[in-house]
């Protein structure tokens, strides 16, 4: 009980501090920081994909129809520039936050799978996955703070559950295939988040 109280107290204080600090930071700066984070996230995921593909070129884009849809594909997001520029800021932020939220669990699955991945670059991949998790978490926190500043509409998050389970396969091929598929989904979503935040950043700064 006391332990929980202490934890609660800590959280409360840290949130207060964050709120106090954040109130002093303008939205454009917050957006700038957030877009830097998302840029790192996307860069990491791209690297991971290349690393994975380096040993299995056939698993690239030529063959390999998707086994299924990404678990986040149900979310309606803009698919070209015109559409993206027409979306409101709070909606864009909400979309970014939803996507990010949706990947908390799958990243854990990926991280667990990476430990046993039958791949020559398994260690590096495993490392990068963990980095992905950290960056994703901090970005999520930052976006939560941002949403507090951007109005009520930004607070809403779409719930996108991951139903793939913890197991990505039994044999080497299916493991690699599923791992590759999950990672490509994450790469797409990280690119979406990055693009949305950068559009928001330029819009908030009035010029880019």
């Amino acid at each position: 009980m006391e332990h929980r109280k202490m934890n609660g107290g800590k959280v409360f204080i840290s949130v207060l501090c964050v709120a106090a600090v954040c109130s002093a930071v303008p939205v454009s700066d917050l957006l700038d920081r957030a877009s830097q984070r998302s840029d790192t996230l996307h860069a990491l995921s791209t690297l991971l994909t290349h690393e994975l593909d380096s040993h299995f070129p056939p698993l690239g884009r030529v063959i390999m129809p998707r086994p299924s849809m990404c678990h986040t594909s149900s979310l309606q997001t803009p698919n070209d520039k015109e559409q993206a520029l027409q979306v409101s800021e709070s909606d864009l932020l909400s979309l970014a936050r939803s996507l990010l939220q949706a990947w908390i669990d799958p990243l854990t699955v990926l991280s667990n799978s990476a430990n046993n991945l039958p791949h020559p670059a398994q260690n590096s991949i495993s490392n990068k996955i963990q980095e992905l998790q950290e960056h994703s978490k901090s970005l999520g926190d930052g976006l939560d703070i941002l949403s507090g500043k951007m109005g009520a509409a930004a607070q809403g998050i779409s719930f996108l559950p991951y139903r793939g389970g913890n197991d990505i396969g039994h044999d080497k091929i299916s493991k690699l295939t599923n791992f590759h598929f999950l990672l490509s989904c994450f790469r797409r979503d990280s690119h979406k988040i990055d693009s949305f935040l950068k559009v928001l950043r330029c819009r908030a700064a009035k010029m880019c």
Partner: protein, 534 residues
């Protein structure tokens, strides 16, 4: 009838064979399988795909691209086969969607059949490769002491940076002159770059490329080159000016040194002191003496008096003119190298012996040195009062006139040191009688240095003159040889005139004519003649 039938059949067969042969020679076949090469989106808004056709099978073959897309029902054909060139398909903005998968195939078809390429799956996000940056410009900037190369460019114009739809990143590479080694730099999102380590006189070649959103790098832009000018700017004039100024300064200094070389020579190598009378310029006398020079000489006489005050007069007692031998003098000189008084008058002339005197003078001048009253020169020297070591009579015994007056002769005692020169008190012995012998009274009158003159004036008609001491007899007798009675000023003058008769004079010998005394002198000298009318 039957033969006709068989002929017809044969013809058909022949025709058929011909047809078959014809067909075989053309090798018409269904088209080969085309290959989808790649697709590329330059700005994340459109994309283009290229394929390579297979063999056409000898027949006109058409290629069609068909695609299916995520979230889009049905199979669709390429909207634009023309814009991107041959064997390409261009997807414009309306037909391009991002974050969705495209499944593309190309079908080649001719009269004989079709051929379908392999399926290509792509997401526009994965095929982003921009055009190279545009308008790469180079500029040399002067910064303080070193130049720098300023590279600037523009983003490819089809990319939309303003809205933030794409985030662009640049990189450039530089090489010097003709080398093949490139140096790469990243520029971030800035459209300019400063190259600081540039050397003058080298030509630099620069290329720039860009990337969108962690996609693929563009191709390198066209090369831009610029040479850094050799440094003629602010620094150069300075480094040219300094040596020039230095050279000019040296020239001026040399010029001054040359002009003042005599002074310089005197300063660096001071001349050996020689006998000289103050106010008498031997150079002047050597040349034709004019009235002016004589007057000038006359005018300088008072200086002599004052100058005499500072030094002591010496009584030089010698006996023989024979002694005026070079070796004698030189030996004497060697023996008594410090014996020259600072105010020694070289009295080396005897009336009767003009040539000899010349010799004597020549000799004398060699061995005698006259040091004008200059303090920094040789200290005043004392003459050793010789007690007439060898008294031989000179050949030229001039008549000795009687001493008209008594006067004083300054007698310097033997062994006197230089200290005595500075004495203010000179010892004088009164001259008692002058006939052919200068008889001195044993009377010591201490006088100040300047008193010498005063005493002279006290005497009646006393005028200064110089007499050569013929011989000394004991302590109180000095035999003088005198030529004539000379007044102080006139004495000088007459003696000077007298002196003038003799030419040439040694420039180093200054002195007054002896008044007739042919006395020997080891060091030439004279007696300051108080008794002027000898």
């Amino acid at each position: 009838m039957q033969s006709l039938f068989w002929m017809m059949r044969g013809l058909e067969l022949a025709l058929l064979l011909l047809l078959c042969a014809a067909l075989q020679s053309n090798s018409m076949s269904p088209p080969g399988k085309p290959v989808l090469l790649s697709c590329r989106s330059p700005e994340k808004e459109t994309f283009t795909c290229w394929w390579e056709p297979g063999s056409d099978g000898g027949l006109p073959t058409t290629h069609r691209l068909y695609y299916e897309r995520e979230r889009l029902k049905g199979t669709h054909e390429c909207p634009d086969y023309q814009s991107a060139g041959k064997n390409s398909c261009f997807f414009d903005k309306n037909h391009t969607s991002i974050w969705v998968d495209y499944y593309l195939t190309v079908v080649a078809s001719n009269a004989l059949g079709n051929a379908t390429s392999d399926l290509l799956k792509l997401d526009v996000m994965e095929i982003v490769k921009p055009d190279p940056p545009e308008n790469v410009a180079l500029q040399v900037e002067d910064r303080e002491d070193s130049p720098l190369l300023h590279v600037s460019w523009e983003h490819p114009h089809n990319t939309d940076i303003k809205s933030g739809w794409v985030t662009i990143k640049y990189a450039l590479r530089v090489k010097q002159g003709n080398s093949n080694k490139w140096k790469e730099y990243t520029s971030g999102t800035q459209t300019h770059f400063r190259l600081y380590s540039v050397s003058p006189g080298v030509e630099y070649t620069v290329q720039v490329r860009c990337m969108l959103d962690h996609g693929f790098w563009s191709e390198w832009s066209n090369t831009s080159s610029m040479g850094i000018p050799n440094y003629l700017q602010t620094e150069r004039p300075f480094w040219v000016l300094m040596p020039t100024l230095f050279v000019i300064l040296c020239t001026v200094v040399m010029f001054i040194l040359v002009l003042k070389r005599k002074n310089l020579k005197q300063y660096v190598l001071p001349p050996v002191p020689r006998p000289k009378i103050s106010g008498v310029d031997f150079q002047l006398l050597k040349s034709a003496p004019t009235e002016d020079t004589i007057n000038a000489l006359n005018q300088n006489f008072p200086c002599m008096v004052a100058w005499k005050d500072q030094m002591e007069d010496y009584l030089i007692v010698t006996e023989n003119d024979n002694r005026f031998q070079p070796d004698f003098f030189s030996s004497q000189k060697r023996k008594n190298s410090l014996l020259f008084p600072s105010g020694l008058y070289l009295h080396s002339e005897i009336q009767e012996s003009e040539p000899r005197l010349n010799d004597q003078e020549n000799v004398g001048k060699r061995s005698l040195s006259y040091v004008p009253a200059q303090e920094h020169q040789n200290p005043s020297l004392n003459f050793v009062f010789t007690e007439a070591p060898d008294q031989t009579h000179s050949k030229h015994d001039a008549s000795v006139k009687p001493f008209p007056n008594t006067g004083y002769v300054d007698i310097q005692r033997c062994g006197g040191n230089t200290q005595e020169v500075d004495e203010e008190q000179l010892q004088y012995s009164r001259v008692k009688e002058v006939d052919s012998a200068l008889i001195l009274e044993k009377e010591n009158i201490t006088l100040s240095r300047s008193g010498y003159t005063d005493i002279q004036r006290q005497e009646e008609n006393t005028s200064e003159g110089y007499s050569r001491v013929k011989e000394v007899g004991g302590d109180s007798v000095v035999i003088l040889q005198q030529k004539k009675n000379l007044s102080p000023d006139s004495a000088y003058q007459e003696e000077r005139d007298y002196y003038m008769d003799y030419k040439p004079r040694s420039p180093h010998v200054t002195g007054f004519n002896r008044t007739g005394l042919c006395t020997e002198m080891n060091d030439s000298g004279y007696v300051d003649n108080v008794l002027n009318h000898f």
